[in-house]
């Protein structure tokens, strides 16, 4: 993935309410300081109680140790932190380097511990997220590390700074905002070809046969010659049978179409196994379909159904591919009551009689709405990753689980049959098989 731009953002200590709020929750007293105080008080009180000066003398090294800590207690740190990211977005498992530059704008700091609070699912590949150093006035230090992660949007916001004197008794902790974010895009495996036949196409030529004669590749029929027809279209056999009339071959026109991808992001339709969530497989399939449809010249839009109205307006080409991948990188599941069924699917977003592709494990109430959509003239293709087999892998192997899985499979089979009977193309996808293989087999069957 190209390094599009270097993101830079900075933060300063002064004036952050959030910082101040956070401060109060940070402990000032160190356990070491507490222990030291207890020993001093114990020795002094013991000495006074027993009127024994030697005990008081034993307390003196501890008092001086504590005094040294107090004497060199760090001043209020004035640090400026800037964050640089090597990329705005990356593909899955591609390393991204994060660089923090910390500049001391105040007095000398004997010990500074910089801890970058990174989002947890990221894997550290190289370097460290913590840095311990000493900082003279005006000095700058850099903390650099490399991460990689799975699909998602990762936001960095806070850097925790702990300054202390050399003995480590007195510390000051501050949180500095240094924002940054990068997206990890899903992998888009291109499919060989996805056969769709929407009822309405656009005027531009593409790869979708539209059952109309005209320029194209596939033979469509024969008609009478009209002035302007190319001579190489003349059908000699048909023309030889009719005196004074010429016939020409017609070809089936191929055009592009509007394709609306609908990704089901409802929490209740998802399934979980030790390897992760089924939703991630749905995202992979959506990315592959978007890439293939766009590569064939179609106009593609994406609607993520589940969290909020997450709509990527339809478009063409590489820019649209990038938009869709970015939307998929940010995609999160939601459990909103409004999205519990497909009833509130905003169909007005999709052009009438266009091709819709739903990527969903499907819930029992879903066929009703899908059949309605079909009745309204939309062409529907449903890619349904199988949640039953997926979830069964994470469950213990016993009779009860097997029986439950069989029942669930029967229910699912009925649900898919209902859709097929309504003229909806359905691909039942066992996710252990790569999507491109399943899609290839299924589309050759549809032909």
């Amino acid at each position: 993935m190209p390094n599009l731009s270097e993101k830079k953002s900075g933060g300063n200590l002064a004036g952050f309410r959030e910082t101040q709020k956070h401060l109060k929750s940070l402990p000032f007293y160190q356990p070491r300081l507490l222990l030291l105080n207890l020993l001093i008080y114990g020795l002094v009180l013991g000495g006074l109680a027993t009127l024994n000066g030697t005990l008081l003398a034993l307390a003196l090294p501890f008092i001086i140790y504590l005094g040294a800590g107090l004497l060199f207690e760090p001043e209020e740190p004035r640090l400026k932190v800037s964050r640089y990211l090597s990329a705005d977005y990356a593909v899955q498992d591609e390393p991204v380097t994060i660089k923090l530059t910390i500049t001391n704008e105040g007095s000398r700091l004997e010990e500074v511990l910089v801890e970058d609070l990174t989002p947890t699912p990221l894997e550290l590949l190289d370097g460290q997220t913590n840095l311990l150093t000493t900082l003279s006035p005006g000095a700058t230090v850099e903390l650099s590390y490399t991460l990689r992660g799975k699909r998602g949007a990762y936001r960095f916001s806070k850097v925790l700074i702990t300054v202390s004197e050399s003995l480590g008794l007195f510390q000051k902790r501050r949180v500095i905002l240094a924002a940054g974010q990068f997206l990890v895009l899903p992998e888009a495996t291109r499919l060989r070809r996805v056969e769709i036949r929407p009822r309405r196409t656009r005027v531009y030529s593409g790869l979708i046969p539209v059952r109309q004669g005209g320029p194209g590749i596939e033979f469509f029929g024969v008609r009478e010659y009209q002035p302007g027809d190319p001579l190489r279209w003349i059908n000699e056999r048909a023309s030889a049978r009719h005196i004074q009339t010429l016939f020409v071959n017609e070809f089936e026109q191929e055009r592009i179409a509007d394709v609306g991808l609908i990704l089901d992001a409802r929490q209740q339709s998802d399934a979980y196994a030790p390897e992760g969530s089924l939703f991630e497989h749905s995202i992979q399939a959506t990315a592959a379909l978007a890439d293939t449809f766009l590569n064939e010249g179609n106009r593609v839009g994406l609607f993520i159904y589940g969290h909020y109205i997450d709509w990527t307006f339809p478009g063409y080409g590489k820019v649209q591919r990038q938009r869709i991948l970015l939307a998929l990188a940010r995609a999160e599941q939601g459990d909103g009551h409004v999205f519990a069924t497909l009833e509130y699917l905003p169909t007005r977003l999709f052009p009438a009689r266009s091709q819709l592709v739903l990527i969903s494990p499907l819930l029992p109430a879903d066929p009703e709405m899908l059949i309605k959509l079909r009745a309204r003239g939309y062409r529907l293709l449903v890619i349904s990753p199988d949640p039953v087999t997926f979830e069964q892998k994470g469950l213990p192997v016993n009779r009860e689980v097997e029986l439950a899985a069989r029942l669930a499979q029967l229910e699912r089979g009925l649900l898919l049959n209902k859709l097929r009977q309504a003229g909806i193309q359905v691909i039942d996808w066992q996710v252990e098989t790569p999507f491109q293989e399943v899609a290839h087999l299924a589309f050759s069957r549809f032909q």
Partner: protein, 164 residues
């Protein structure tokens, strides 16, 4: 850094053991040596919080030694060595858990220099204090004690308030 910790623990054990044994308190000497060895083992195995337990034991042992009229000079040396071991243990752990350490040499140098000054001053002042004999009655003792505790509390409280 770890070697310094081991040496300090050894010196602390030696100081206290000598303090007890020179005053013929033979019964306690093996216990002090055993505790010193246990602290060494804990240090070697990186047992968490073991240094603090070691320091508490050594201070309590020194205070007990004072009660039994053990040699105060040796007890003081042992206590200061235990304080050094406790400090160095924390510092070494701090360096190990900090991730990337920049200017490590300077950090070590600054810390060791300060610790040396603090320990020397503490040993010197406590040594001087041991040689001074002052007669105090209960009233004066209470007065000075309360004054010491209040000023220490005020100093820490003041510092805490400033930092917030």
């Amino acid at each position: 850094m770890k070697n310094f910790v081991f040496i300090s623990i050894g010196l602390a054990t030696l100081g206290l053991a000598l303090g007890y044994s020179l005053s013929s308190l033979w019964l306690w000497t093996p216990l002090i040596v055993a505790m010193g060895l246990l602290w060494l083992v804990g240090q070697w195995r990186d047992w968490d919080g073991w240094a603090s337990i070691g320091l508490i034991f050594f201070v309590v042992a020194a205070a007990g030694g004072v009660g039994h009229d053990a040699a105060a000079g040796w007890l003081l040396s042992g206590t200061v060595a235990a304080l050094i071991a406790w400090d160095l243990d924390h510092f070494s752990q701090h360096l190990n858990h900090a991730g990337h350490v920049e200017n490590a040499a300077e950090l070590r140098r600054t810390h060791l220099r300060r610790l040396f000054v603090v320990a020397s001053l503490g040993l010197l002042l406590a040594g001087v204090a041991l040689s001074i004999q002052l007669e105090l009655n209960l009233g004066w003792a209470l007065f000075w004690g309360l004054l010491a505790i209040l000023s220490l509390s005020w100093l820490i409280g003041f510092s805490r308030g400033e930092s917030q």
